[in-house]
């Protein structure tokens, strides 16, 4: 039996407090990339009762994603935008979702994320991360931006931290652990970084800007 919208809203307010929940419900977050970071971040935000998520990815779920990304074996081959919608609606049926199956570039970025209050960078490749961060900071300096860099490998999870680079730009991760053949990605360590990003977003919405 799926709870009604009212029941869900009451439960959110009970857990988070009514005032904070209103802020969560009134916020739009764009999650760019729906891999290990983005799938975990969007689930955490949907669970928190964020009003609207703009979800962007061009890729399909691959069997090699299942070790860390929040998809299921039967979703292999699906576009991540479709699979994440399915999964988020199962968790939080009334969250407003806007999905874009597209590769983000300097030309389309403003149109894709222009409506977001907060932008979350959750790409895999370093070049894509840098492109998005530069584009948001240059073209949309009023937006908050939360990026993730350095969560590969088997190093201590305690090395993953959140740093406030400039007033509206937050960077989560250990900053150095690059992914390569000898340095793979592990679900829990990626989730630590995803949790840093998701919680930083919630804190920004709450007006708590320090790290």
């Amino acid at each position: 039996m799926i709870p009604t919208r009212e029941e869900m809203e009451q439960a959110f307010a009970m857990r988070h407090g009514e005032e904070l929940q209103k802020k969560f419900a009134g916020t739009t977050v764009a999650v760019c990339g729906l891999g290990g970071l983005g799938s975990n971040i969007s689930i955490a935000l949907a669970r928190a009762g964020i009003g609207k998520l703009i979800l962007i990815d061009f890729d399909q779920v691959d069997v090699t994603n299942l070790h860390r990304q929040q998809y299921k074996a039967h979703q292999v081959g699906m576009y991540k935008t479709d699979a994440i919608q399915e999964n988020l609606k199962e968790i939080s049926p009334y969250v407003d979702l806007e999905v874009h199956r597209v590769k983000v570039n300097e030309e389309n970025v403003e149109e894709l994320i222009g409506d977001a209050d907060i932008v979350c960078e959750a790409f895999d490749r370093a070049e894509a991360k840098a492109m998005l961060v530069n584009a948001v900071l240059e073209k949309m300096p009023d937006k908050y931006l939360v990026s993730g860099s350095g969560m590969a490998g088997f190093d201590s999870p305690n090395r993953i931290q959140t740093k406030c680079v400039t007033k509206k730009f937050y960077l989560c991760g250990d900053g150095v652990s690059d992914v390569n053949e000898s340095n793979g990605l592990f679900a829990a360590r990626v989730m630590v970084c995803a949790a840093h990003q998701a919680h930083t977003i919630l804190r920004i919405i709450a007006g708590e800007y320090d790290v």
Binding site: G36, A122, A126, A130, E138, G150, V165, T166, D178, V179
Partner: protein, 64 residues
């Protein structure tokens, strides 16, 4: 002296692009903030570091 990523560096008078090149940064994987403002890539070459500037070079690594 210029403060670069929290450290005092004798780089006043240098072009940002020269500093980045000499220190081995991959321009495709960085974002540069000069005195709390993003420095667009198109301006790396034309921007000269001044005394007391704060430069922050954020290097991204892969994984997500």
């Amino acid at each position: 002296m210029v403060t670069i990523n929290g450290e005092k560096v004798n780089a006043a008078g240098m072009k940002v692009s020269d500093y980045l090149e000499q220190n081995g940064y991959d321009l495709q994987k960085i974002a540069v903030e000069l005195n709390e403002e993003i420095l667009p890539k198109s301006q790396y070459d034309g921007t000269i570091l001044n005394e007391n500037d704060f430069l922050e070079v954020v290097s991204f690594v892969g994984g997500g």
